[in-house]
Point group: C2
Chain length 173, copies 2
């Protein structure tokens, strides 16, 4: 089987359902194109409103909405700053929560580079600035990169909780 290995009662895929799936929750909070691209810009060092709109190539309305949401969610911090001879303005600075999405964004880039650029190849390369080595996003344990087939999925909940969740899910229909 070309898939992960499911531990214990997880193996019976009809006996449980992920009602609290982190992937679904994550997609609900940052699953839009504009959110990902705003994060990309932030990783490149962008902090100001109109730099985001211009460099991402979205309208001001969309940038304002997205920055408001991402700030409310705690991925950005709205911080006042003042340049001499300018009035106080606000910049959007990445928090740890925002910075922690880096693997997601770079994994998307890595996949797009490989499959969606045709002959052209990746427009931008990434290297470790300290060692000069190329940088990749990897699914790995301490010792090595782990292929899908050797990935074990274990529950952090009991079979009983899973059954209860199933019943609730079907009751909600």
């Amino acid at each position: 089987m070309d898939a992960a290995r499911l531990d214990g009662f997880l193996a019976d895929r009809d006996a449980w359902q992920t009602t609290q799936c982190s992937i679904a929750k994550a997609m609900d909070t940052v699953g839009t194109r504009s959110a990902m691209l705003i994060l990309r810009e932030a990783y490149y060092g962008t902090r100001r409103f109109d730099d985001f709109t211009r460099r991402v190539g979205i309208t001001e309305a969309v940038a304002a909405a997205r920055l408001r949401e991402l700030t409310a969610e705690g991925l950005f911090e709205r911080r006042p700053y003042k340049e001499p001879g300018q009035r106080t303005r606000y910049e959007y600075v990445l928090t740890e929560k925002g910075r922690d999405l880096l693997p997601v964004v770079l994994a998307l880039k890595q996949w797009g580079d490989k499959y969606l650029q045709g002959e052209r190849g990746a427009p931008l390369g990434l290297t470790d600035d300290t060692t000069g080595d190329p940088v990749r996003v990897e699914v790995r344990s301490a010792a090595r990169e782990v292929p899908l087939e050797e990935l074990r999925v274990t529950p952090n909940f009991t079979e009983e909780q899973a059954r209860r969740a199933m019943r609730n899910a079907s009751a909600n229909r």
Copy 2:
């Protein structure tokens, strides 16, 4: 600065624009909630139409549309199979292109586990089935995990190409 380091002419963020951004392209192809969750199910071993709809918790219409798109994009292969006493049916099997999205999906899971589950914590854990060690998604070079601040971004195109792309982009307005 709390950001990646931009190489050479990339440092002037107003002198270039990513018209071919892999992240944007990737979001355009697999940037929906349902696509990510269908991939999650595929990683858990699901292959059949109604298993996808039931386990992801989406309608048949959405499942059909998404599987059609993902198959057209080459993330799934539609393969006939026949169980004894059943007519021929089709199953959706991950291709390499589909499997290569694993880092994206697991990076989303990792982030959601950390920030969106509250007290509860991650519903599912991941381990290396061969060594038993915990599994994480990392941005890394050969020797080590690379933090954002030590990530160097280099162009795979010339400054002249960047300028031309900029002119085209502004001309299109």
